[in-house]
Symmetry: C2
Subunit: 501 residues, 2 copies
């Protein structure tokens, strides 16, 4: 009931039968202790249905481990040994904060997030999920945000393929328009047992986390959200905590998991800041791997200075424009990920109808300010299948340009770009390189006919003209002393300037 | 030496010979008192050179006036009578604040500013000035900002055709690049007598104020500015006050004059807030007509809550984006005029290379937030003639679209548009009409495929689709109850919705 070898940063899973009397989800506990010369990790297990209990563990070191699994689930105490083999190609470990404002995998490889959002793609019929995976395999994105709970919102009134709890949902017929004030999570038609999870829901969800992991995509999991007609957003404290513990026990061992406590946290009417802090506390205590943790706003930023928050996961608004990024960096001293900057599309909603050009422009503007951005897409669709909610298929013009931006980011000599303190529209990759050694200028909507430079009299600088929309990189030449670069007079151009001698 | 009749809001000018001994600019005074049953106005006069003193007066009422002119300039006291005739067509009087955030001429006609900036067009050779006037006659703009003093800045190192003082300037040869830190207003080569004005400089300038007035264009005069190599920005208090009094005495009687105390006030290194307040005090005391008064920032807004400031004359910056307009309206309760939002063009400077589309988009975004905007243009030119500085010729794509916006504004039922408190991207013309009676939605970069509306069950609403770039207005139909409007899926579209029954 456990493997003899496991790859570093992969999942070691122990499974054993256990008690079924009463309610196995709450009446019994199970935990594992995993030891090697380099680490001792205690991890909670969980009940996976059908009389089976499991404990999962993600080893962070190669070599031999011993383990002990025990708890009230069984009279038996299980012990054993296994060996952790080196990480295979493409397995770089979990993503961590690096260089204050940036990210790197645990093996040190820089990670430049270019994310997307498909809130409930894992709750769609399996053939649609496979289409989403096909689209993701094209490599546009290396992070995706999605929800554990199903979603009740415009374009998305069908029931999910599975529910997270035992029970039956309220009627969904006749729903055509989401109204923030008339949804009824407490609809008495909902018949749920919040003390009994539906393991199938979580197993199917985990299949997708694994698929993402295998294609190198981070799973930015939204654990709670307000778009609800079933009551999942309004459970009491005990049930909330039960849910959090179950989620952590099941998902924490996946190396590609990020925790997003909520989407639009202020819109969960029954939750207070004390609740969010309690969930965070559980997460800090129960996730042995300390995956990245954040919480996503609608209008009001959460207090990102809270020590449990590893990075800011921001939604832009009229009064939270991307121009604030340098202030946020200064204030929070953490990476800034703008995970909602509005969506490429043409739906009615104000947040869902920007052009591909505007999407790409915002990505670049955000990047040049030393932050990261996330994509989303909302085109009117005859079957109401919108990428932002369902996944399935991309229709926009931005994804390949975002892939191009990612390629540029990967060429930064030092992890990440930081905005120049001195020059507007300039980011540098520092500090191991001198401030003049690598810089990118981005002009956005502007289209200067030329730019003049002077760094010093002795070094040579290679200048490339990047068309961020056309996805071309053209060499402008190698220059010394005072020089002028002619630009093509179009929008969305960038310059990359590298010291070459 | 004075006319027997004058049009209402036109200039009555009295001229008489006077003393020439010593320095007539400072040794003698002259003032006029103008009386009718409706007003008594005291106005300072000025020395116009060649032994001639003048006093100017702008009457605000029709009918018979008497006047007395006296002062140490002459032993004689002059008295007389004249008649003020009705304002001719197109003469609506000076512009005043109306409806808190908007403007109207003194006769009540709404005035919707669509301004431009040509800092030193009046300091160019006369044939270039005539070209500028030809361009302005096309009616794109109804306000223009320009400077009394000449300007020392990139693209603009030639000496002006006249100087405001007697004396000789420093050498201008070899200047190619403006450097904020190495310009030398105190260059000892400058030989000026700051106590002796050059009346010719002011007369030529006044010709242009008059030309603008006759074509219905407001002259937004920038009295001080920092782009200087002659020392005009660094005179002492006595000479500053002399200058201000001379300027007020000469220009205040022109009905189309607005006072802009400074361009980029913080960049005048030798002036303090006490200085600006002293000039403002002079202006309030000496301008009998209380023309509009403001002061223009670079990075730091002046305190627009000061009571002498009639409207906010704002330059946008990274941290002063147009999204702040509703805050400024709330805070200052005055009209907001964004007189610099960056320029249409392609020069190197970050503020001088946006596209025509971006210029027009910003105008509309600003308008929808209940404020007004100003145009400027900076295209690379073989003879370094850039509209923003020299005037001469327009090359951009925005002016005709701004004229189109002005036409839309003129169709507001009540003076001006105000941002909807409830709906993003919506402005209403209220309050004499109900809030649903006239609204404009503008989508900017967004391009929704449709929009749904519901105002009430009984009234009919006419909907028009405005292409703000294509300059077309297309009727979408007349609707009642719940309705949906299909949009063309392009950027830069607006909707105008009017209750029609």
């Amino acid at each position: 009931m456990f493997p003899k070898t496991v790859e570093k940063w992969d999942i070691f899973e122990f499974a054993a039968p256990g008690r079924q009397e009463g309610n196995p989800f709450v009446d019994y506990d199970i935990k594992g202790v995993f030891q090697s010369p380099n680490e001792t990790v205690t991890a909670d297990g969980f009940y996976d249905g059908d009389g089976v209990y499991k404990v999962r563990f993600m080893p962070s070191f190669e070599g031999d481990y011993t383990f002990t699994v025990s708890g009230s689930f069984s009279d038996e105490v299980y012990t054993g040994t296994f060996t952790v083999t080196p990480a295979a190609a493409g397995n770089h470990g979990p993503v961590r904060v690096a260089n204050t404002f940036h990210f790197a995998y645990e093996d040190g490889t820089p990670y430049y997030p270019v994310g997307t959002t498909c809130y409930v793609w894992t709750h769609q019929p399996q053939e649609l999920q496979q289409k989403t995976l096909d689209e993701l395999r094209k490599g546009y994105f290396n992070k995706i945000r999605f929800c554990v709970f199903p979603k009740h919102y415009d374009f998305n009134f069908r029931d999910p393929i599975t529910f997270p709890y035992e029970g039956t949902p309220c009627d969904n017929s006749g729903l055509t328009k989401y109204n923030f004030n008339d949804y009824l999570p407490s609809n008495p038609e909902n018949k749920w047992d919040f003390h009994r999870f539906n393991p199938e829901h979580f197993r199917l969800f985990e299949n997708r986390i694994r698929d993402l992991r295998d294609m190198g995509v981070e799973a930015d999991l939204i654990i709670m959200h307000p778009y609800d007609r079933w009551g999942f957003s309004e459970m009491d404290e005990e049930c909330d905590d039960l849910y959090w513990k179950y989620v952590i026990a099941r998902f924490a061992a996946y190396r590609n998991v990020w925790w997003s406590l909520a989407n639009e946290w202020e819109f969960l009417k029954k939750k207070t800041v004390r609740d969010w802090e309690r969930y965070a506390d559980l997460l800090c205590k129960k996730d042995p791997y300390h995956h990245l943790r954040s919480i996503h706003n609608a209008y009001s930023l959460y207090d990102y200075s809270r020590p449990w928050i590893t990075h800011c996961c921001v939604q832009l608004q009229e009064f939270q424009p991307l121009e604030k990024i340098p202030q946020w960096r200064e204030l929070y001293q953490k990476p800034i990920v703008v995970d909602e900057l509005r969506y490429e599309g043409n739906i009615e909603h104000d947040w869902g109808n920007i052009t591909g050009q505007e999407m790409v422009r915002r990505f670049w503007e955000i990047t040049l300010r030393g932050a990261y951005a996330g994509h989303g897409e909302t085109f009117v669709h005859p079957d109401n299948l919108l990428w932002w909610s369902h996944g399935v298929e991309l229709h926009g013009e931005s994804p390949e340009r975002l892939k191009f931006l990612h390629k540029i980011l990967c060429e930064s000599p030092y992890t990440g770009l930081n905005p120049s303190q001195k020059e507007y529209r300039t980011a540098v990759s520092a500090p191991t390189f001198g401030p003049n050694d690598y810089r990118i200028l981005y002009f956005g909507n502007a289209r200067p006919a030329y730019k003049r430079f002077y760094f010093d009299d002795t070094n040579e600088y290679e200048v490339e003209i990047i068309d961020t929309w056309g996805m071309t990189i053209e060499k402008a030449g190698v220059f010394k002393g005072r020089f002028e670069v002619t630009l093509p007079g179009r929008e969305f151009m960038a310059l990359r300037i590298r010291r070459v001698g």
